[in-house]
């Protein structure tokens, strides 16, 4: 049975109080959260250890400068717990990373929230988020989508945290700016909350109340997926979409699933020598340089698509404005379906490529 901890403050202030309490009580060694930094209207992820500095924390801020889940994998072993406030998709990324031994769950008290979606980089660059915030929160409280949030967010049906120790009720929470509702799922969360003034009562977190949001998001997702017309034209479609790729591989560097220190497709194995280039040249009459633009995308898809949690960072960073995220998510879902795998659903669920069943795809290869 979950417990709900209600604090009579706005959602954000409530969490900060709670975090402060945990820090002072030495339940945790630090807090990983979004925070304000020196310059006005600038934010980043920070690990805060001094309770006083929590004043800068903005845990619910609708922005994802980097995928927090990816950042959490920086902590291999720590002797003190760290409370991390991250978005549901970041949490799912982290679960996927844990499966690949790129992070340790036991290091953290994982706090997440029903997410109303976040803004793209464009807005943080234009520095106009603050003025949009009031409206944003109104809309989120209503449980609808704010017009300027990322498309990937509008298409995200996983905005309810999975595997969190604590879920903060945000999207669809009408008393957003008067009440802060923290659902304590795990034992460690309940234990840590002991002694915190604020009323705690037993109440199961009710996912069903979000059905309508989920359905809306799904509808939008389908629309978004349909925009990607690659399938109809195959190779040419790929070239149409990825033709402008400049091969900077930023998508893989910000991707929370791409954990490799050096991408295989950047390794010397894939370098061309002039002999190979000559073969290509004489066959085509002309070759694009650097080569293997589309090959890289295919390769990355084959490595991680089934684990894509659709955080949208790849689209955000793409200098050529390629809708990478939509494509990867669309294909990822198709692949994951085969193994009825949902990335970030359950840490026990093994990555499809690491296991097999003897009695599967038995007709394959026998014809």
């Amino acid at each position: 049975m979950d417990q709900v901890l209600t604090i009579k403050k706005n959602a954000e202030a409530g969490i900060i109080d709670f975090l402060k309490f945990l820090l002072q009580k030495d339940e945790i060694g630090g807090v990983f959260t979004l925070r304000n930094i020196s310059k006005q209207g600038k934010y980043d992820y920070g690990l805060i250890t001094d309770p006083e500095l929590l004043k800068d924390a903005i845990p619910l801020h609708p922005l994802m400068p980097v995928n927090g889940g990816k950042m959490l994998s920086n902590f291999s072993v720590v002797d003190e717990k760290i409370a991390a406030v991250i978005k549901p998709c970041e949490l799912r990324s982290f679960i996927e990373l844990v499966k690949r031994s790129q992070g340790k769950l036991e290091n953290f008290l994982l706090i997440s929230y029903t997410c109303g979606g976040c803004f793209g980089f464009k807005h943080s660059v234009d520095n106009n988020i603050d003025e949009m915030l009031p409206d944003y929160w109104k809309v989120v409280a209503k449980g609808t989508d704010y017009k300027d949030i990322r498309e990937t967010c509008k298409a995200c049906e996983y905005f309810i945290p999975i595997n969190a120790d604590i879920t903060v009720s945000v999207a669809g929470e009408k008393d957003l700016n008067s009440i802060s509702r923290l659902y304590l799922h795990s034992e460690q969360a309940k234990r840590m909350a002991e002694g915190f003034e604020g009323d705690i009562s037993d109440e199961e977190f009710d996912r069903s109340q979000y059905e309508h949001i989920i359905n809306k998001r799904k509808e939008f997702k389908v629309k978004l997926f349909d925009q990607i017309k690659i399938k109809d034209t195959g190779l040419d479609g790929m070239i149409d979409v990825f033709g402008k790729c400049i091969g900077c591989h930023a998508c893989s560097r910000v991707c929370p699933i791409c954990y490799c220190i050096l991408c295989d497709f950047e390794s010397s194995t894939y370098d061309y020598d002039s002999d190979m280039m000559q073969t290509e040249l004489s066959r085509k009459g002309g070759v694009r340089l650097p080569p293997d633009t589309v090959l890289y995308q295919l390769g990355r898809l084959s490595h991680m698509s089934f684990s894509c949690i659709g955080c949208g960072q790849c689209t955000e960073v793409c200098p050529a404005d390629i809708p990478v995220s939509v494509i990867f998510r669309k294909i990822g879902e198709k692949v994951a379906e085969i193994f009825d795998y949902v990335p970030g659903r359950n840490v026990e669920e093994e990555v499809p490529v690491t296991i097999f069943k003897e009695e599967e795809f038995t007709s394959l290869g026998e014809d």
């Binding site: 992820y45 690990l47 900077c248 390794s267 002039s274 002999d275 955000e316």
Partner: protein, 382 residues
């Protein structure tokens, strides 16, 4: 340092600038001055450009000698196949001066083998920012056409770093250079800068008989104007980088994607030292670090990365501006690096990509430097 030749070939401009260049290149390919040529070409979706090594003349028709954008640095394209040693084909590359210079730098760093490569440059009005182009290709094409037609070297729609670039014309160590100038409207110049260049002129049986001083004057004016712009811009930049708090402010949006370095032509490393395990601290260290200051920010060591990168490549920086194009959060990386490079290169009396013979003052980096920086950064962040 080699002086520009004082005679060049007179090439008629009746068909227009781009077309005439294309025709000249086509004839050279036809006369087997080289087996293939590297040129920009619009991608099928018509929403950007890519480098294409062209052998087939039909395909050459599609190429655009003076592309409005530079999504990938030409030098990177060259090194993608000539890094493993000299090419069995004779290849020509028609590139912007900054790309030629990058190519020369990379050849010093053994990332390009120039032995069978002919470098052809032209007077560059600059390139449009990549995002502007991808936002609206048609508009950008129009915009850029007027720039070319007017031979406008001071248009403010081109990348900021281009607006203040004073190396936009002939690079002494290229093989051939196309010179444009208003004072000589009906023709352009093809200036041979090397034995190979002269050989090509010979094979084409052209005559380098046209005096270049007129054109030179024209270019010098433009260069002056650009230099002024450069100096005033540098004043501003000074205030953006001096002192670590300023630096941190400037880079406050940085998300640590290191895309600036992966777009950079002279950051040739397969894996950046600042991405390697060596610089990633253990988590207990992290927590201690955080406790010392009350907090630390993620991704880690962003300033260290930028300063570190300067220490590695600023001497070879050619101010092509690709880093700015590649930056997802629009930090003026290119200008900042250009400013720093200007200073470091002055210190060594070195100009990146000017001279094939002189080697890069620092081809290897010393760990002490980086340690030093690390310490500085730590203080700065504390």
């Amino acid at each position: 340092m080699k002086k520009p030749q004082n005679k060049g070939v007179k090439i008629s401009l009746k068909k227009g600038l781009k077309e005439s260049i294309l025709k000249t290149i086509k004839d050279m390919l036809h006369n087997e001055c080289f087996d293939a040529v590297l040129m920009p070409m619009q991608v099928p979706a018509k929403d950007s450009y890519a480098w294409v090594l062209i052998k087939d003349k039909k395909i050459l028709e599609e190429a655009n000698p003076i592309a409005p954008v530079m999504p990938v640095q030409g030098a990177k394209a060259l090194s993608s196949f000539s890094r493993k040693g000299e090419t069995s084909l004779n290849i020509a590359a028609l590139m912007k001066p900054c790309e030629i210079r990058a190519a020369i730098e990379l050849s010093k760093l053994n990332q390009i083998n120039l032995r069978n490569i002919t470098l052809i440059s032209y007077d560059c009005p600059g390139a449009l920012p990549l995002s502007d182009y991808t936002d609206n290709p048609d508009n950008s094409e129009k915009k850029f056409k007027t720039i070319i037609d007017k031979l406008n070297f001071h248009d403010d729609s081109v990348k900021p770093v281009c607006q203040m670039c004073d190396e936009f014309s002939l690079i002494p160590d290229c093989d051939l250079h196309f010179g444009f100038s208003h004072n000589q409207e009906n023709f352009m110049l093809l200036i041979p800068q090397s034995k190979r260049g002269e050989q090509i002129i010979k094979t084409m049986d052209m005559k380098a008989s046209q005096d270049v001083s007129e054109w030179n004057k024209f270019i010098q004016e433009k260069r002056k104007k650009r230099q002024n712009k450069r100096n005033e811009r540098f004043k501003k930049l000074k205030n953006m980088v001096e002192g670590f708090d300023t630096l941190m402010d400037t880079f406050s949006d940085c998300i640590g994607c290191h895309n600036c370095r992966s777009a950079c032509p002279v950051c040739y490393c397969r894996q950046c030292y600042f991405d390697s395990e060596t610089v990633i601290p253990d988590s207990d260290v992290l927590l201690l670090k955080a406790k010392k200051r009350g907090g630390i920010s993620f991704p880690l060591d962003r300033i260290m990365f930028h300063v570190g990168r300067m220490s590695h490549m600023s001497l070879s920086c050619v101010s092509c501006g690709l880093c700015s194009d590649a930056c997802p959060v629009s930090i003026p990386v290119a200008e900042i690096f250009s400013y720093v490079a200007d200073n470091t290169q002055k210190d060594f009396e070195y100009k990146s990509g000017e001279n094939k013979e002189e080697s890069v003052p620092l081809m290897t980096f010393r760990l002490e430097e980086v340690k030093g920086i690390k310490k500085l950064v730590e203080n700065a962040e504390g």
